[in-house]
């Protein structure tokens, strides 16, 4: 009997009946009693249902032999998601909580397999809101081919957190042929991105700011494991991949330049940024290179594999606007990133200090 059959049996024997009656989350839902059991059964297990989770043990259990068929190393990551507003154009906190962790595994060359879900919920949250977030998590997990196999729920007093905080940790397996690292970037390599940059950061600031700018900017929030697999199949000698989340593409490029002791030059003209995002940044005095992304990666690819990589990426739904934005320079100041401006000048792209703040005028 394999592990799946074994756990299916356990679920059947459990005869779950928990049904949540309350319309809002109260402290009782974190109290460990029946209310909490009902919340877990009716909201989480219902949505995430899979053989490993459904046993509701204190831990998720896997056969090592199953994992070993996928590769020779485990990858593990965790991230906490705190976002205002929790629903925004193009996504919500639940979708991000899955995409972020899946992407953190995938950029290391891992196939993401199992995720955990830790929820800290503010007392008073409407159950329907929580259901919407959990449904979004379940849908995204399905899209990303991962299972949410264990979790934790806490309810805190009103004011102790902002609506809901989510932590997800994930485990994936790395194929024996993949050895990615920022230090592997070398002179002549190209820098590729999989589409328009800064959409997520602009969408969040726009929905948060109440500036009535009426933009149609949507978050790019997406699970990238499929795209990354496509890229690695087409360009097996890819040196490094990183998702450009907080700090934007500028931070990733600086990390690469620093780790590889190389200089990087990108071209403003080749860097895909939507006109709406450029306009949004102009109004607020922000730089789109530092805006967060939730579905964009930076890949360092050797020159002879660039064409194949771009073609493969452009054939994937999350990579159709992929672009070659620059190169690792043979000379130049080590650790420094430059941008050739479309105006004909050259500027440094430095690490972001603190948070980007809108300018006064």
């Amino acid at each position: 009997m394999n592990i799946a059959q074994e756990t299916e049996q356990e679920v059947d024997s459990r005869k779950r009946k928990g049904k949540l009656v309350s319309k809002v989350i109260t402290l009782a839902h974190g109290g460990g009693g029946k209310a909490m059991r009902d919340l877990i059964d009716d909201v989480f297990v219902q949505a995430f249902s899979n053989p490993v989770l459904n046993t509701l043990e204190d831990q998720a259990r896997f056969h090592l032999s199953d994992l070993a068929t996928e590769g020779d190393r485990l990858a593990m990551t965790t991230d906490s998601y705190v976002i205002d507003p929790i629903f925004f154009p193009g996504g919500d906190i639940g979708k991000i909580a899955i995409c972020g962790t899946v992407n953190d595994l995938a950029v290391g060359g891992a196939k993401p397999l199992y995720l955990t879900c830790g929820m800290i919920i503010e007392e008073g949250m409407e159950v329907n809101t929580l259901r919407a977030i959990v449904k979004s998590m379940a849908d995204t997990a399905r899209e990303a081919g991962v299972q949410i196999v264990t979790g934790d729920t806490k309810v805190v007093e009103k004011g102790s957190c902002d609506k809901v905080f989510i932590n997800t940790a994930g485990i994936g397996v790395i194929d024996k042929d993949y050895h990615l690292g920022a230090d592997k970037a070398q002179a002549g390599d190209h820098i590729l991105v999989n589409g328009y940059l800064g959409d997520h950061g602009a969408a969040i600031m726009d929905s948060r700011g109440g500036m009535n700018l009426s933009t149609n900017i949507q978050s790019d929030c997406a699970p990238l494991q499929g795209l990354i697999q496509t890229l690695l199949n087409a360009a097996p000698n890819t040196r490094f991949i990183r998702d450009a989340t907080r700090g934007g593409i500028a931070s990733v490029l600086n990390e690469i330049a620093e780790a590889s002791s190389c200089a990087i030059q990108i071209s403003e003209q080749q860097t895909p940024i939507r006109q709406e995002v450029i306009g949004f940044c102009e109004i607020l005095g922000l730089d789109p290179l530092y805006l967060a992304n939730e579905g964009k990666l930076v890949a360092v690819v050797p020159e002879n594999e660039v064409e194949a990589a771009l073609e493969a990426m452009r054939g994937h739904a999350f990579g159709k606007d992929s672009a070659d934005i620059g190169t690792i320079l043979p000379g130049g100041t080590a650790g420094r990133v430059h941008m050739q401006t479309s105006f004909g000048g050259k500027r440094i792209v430095d690490m972001l200090i603190g948070e980007q703040l809108p300018r006064i005028c």
């Binding site: 700011g209 109440g210 500036m211 006109q275 450029i278 306009g279 102009e282 607020l284 005095g285 730089d287 100041t333 420094r336 941008m339 401006t341 479309s342 105006f343 004909g344 000048g345 050259k346 500027r347 440094i348 430095d350 200090i353 603190g354 703040l357 809108p358 300018r359 006064i360 005028c361």
Partner: protein, 390 residues
């Protein structure tokens, strides 16, 4: 972007740069030194670095990044006053984004917020007024900051607060006015300037006539400039053309936005609500007479300085800081003793390192190549005043 791309055309830039190079070479031979042109406005400083313009210009031109970033010239004592108001019980203190990180003598507004003060970032003073309407049991204070560019929106907000009978809204007024400031720069004994790029946004409000004295009494050309890279190059070219012809006039390169007479409605709102302060202190520049404004007596109910007791203590800038000399163009940011050492964007000692419009922060973020060149020359023991032109 529609209506913007034409101001970022690299082909047109090349043509302008070629002409600029020819004229500047001729002027350098005549002056026996580079041509010094000050951009007064922080917005210009930002564009110059953002588009890499400084690196495109020939070495025969040196841009001096002037005192036009309102965040940069805010004295430490005024930041302390902000913190004192923000830390009062029952106060919601509202501020523009880039003012939140400016260091006071003990802390910034950002630190005060972390310690529990209710400090909120807003995009306009009207947002602050909305917060006041929605929080009738709180005192909402708006940190009014900036030159004539932002002054009208503050004035209109105070008038709106009065019209709507809002009594829990007040203004901590730190607005400053451009003309006395430029005059103070021109009167500075250690200054050597050949011409100015006039501030485009300020001029949109005050028009061009107020700059007339610069041409008449100081014999310096002023070209009111827009903020797109071609605007800046064209304005530099216009200043150089005047210098080449031995002229000093006020010209308006930004005439698509700036009306000769300014904006009547905005000027009326300013005149109705504000009056000049006798003295106002500037960071690094000391007190400049009649350079700050305050609310008129009839709007005292909206004046945070009258509503709350503030320390109003003058705090000397850290001794090592040379913000004043940088603001006047007497030294370049990298020549300051603490630049990139004790003073960095992470730990700014001087405000010039805080705002992205501040020349020190701009050099730190965008200007590393020029800095590398200077440091390379320093290693070769080339005297620093030669390195200044690197």
């Amino acid at each position: 972007m529609k209506h913007v791309d034409e101001f970022r055309d690299p082909v047109k830039a090349k043509v302008l740069l070629k002409e600029i190079t020819v004229i500047a070479k001729e002027l350098k031979e005549r002056l026996k030194r580079p041509v010094y042109i000050m951009e007064v406005c922080g917005g210009h400083t930002h564009s110059i670095f953002r588009y890499g313009i400084e690196n495109m210009l020939p070495e025969t031109i040196e841009l001096i990044h002037g005192p036009g970033c309102p965040v940069c010239v805010l004295p430490m004592g005024r930041v302390d006053d902000c913190v004192a108001i923000a830390e009062r019980d029952n106060v919601i203190f509202t501020t523009f984004g880039d003012a939140i990180r400016v260091p006071g003598s003990k802390k910034s507004l950002l630190q005060a917020k972390a310690e529990g003060a209710d400090v909120r970032m807003v995009y306009s003073p009207m947002d602050a007024l909305s917060i006041a309407k929605n929080n009738p049991d709180k005192e909402v204070v708006f940190f009014g900051l900036g030159f004539e560019t932002t002054m009208p929106s503050t004035a209109l907000t105070v008038l709106k607060a009065e019209a709507d009978g809002i009594n829990n809204f007040s203004l901590f007024c730190n607005h400053i006015t451009i003309i006395p400031t430029v005059k103070a720069v021109l009167d500075s004994p250690d200054l050597q300037l050949d011409g100015f790029l006039g501030p485009g946004h300020v001029s949109m409000v005050i028009g061009n006539k107020p700059y007339q004295f610069i041409a008449e009494h100081y014999n310096r050309p002023v070209v009111v400039a827009g903020f797109e890279p071609l605007d800046i190059l064209q304005s530099l070219w216009m200043v150089l053309k005047q210098l080449q012809a031995g002229e000093a006039r006020i010209e308006n390169q930004y005439n698509r936005i700036v009306p000769e007479e300014g904006n009547k409605m905005a000027l009326e709102a300013i005149a109705k609500t504000f009056e000049l302060r006798e003295f106002f202190e500037w960071r690094g520049l000391g007190s400049i007479d009649h350079s700050g404004v305050q609310l008129k007596a009839e709007y005292a109910a909206f004046d945070a300085e009258k509503k709350f007791i503030v320390p109003a203590v003058t705090i000397a800038d850290p001794k090592a800081c040379q913000c004043g000399e940088v603001l006047k163009g007497a030294i370049k940011p990298w020549q300051c003793k603490v630049f990139a050492k004790a003073c960095t964007p992470e730990t700014p000692l001087g405000a010039l390192m805080v705002s992205s419009e501040g020349s020190c922060a701009a050099y730190h973020q965008f200007g590393g190549d020029r800095l590398d060149a200077v440091q390379a020359k320093a290693k070769l023991n080339i005297p620093i005043n030669e390195a200044r032109n690197a």
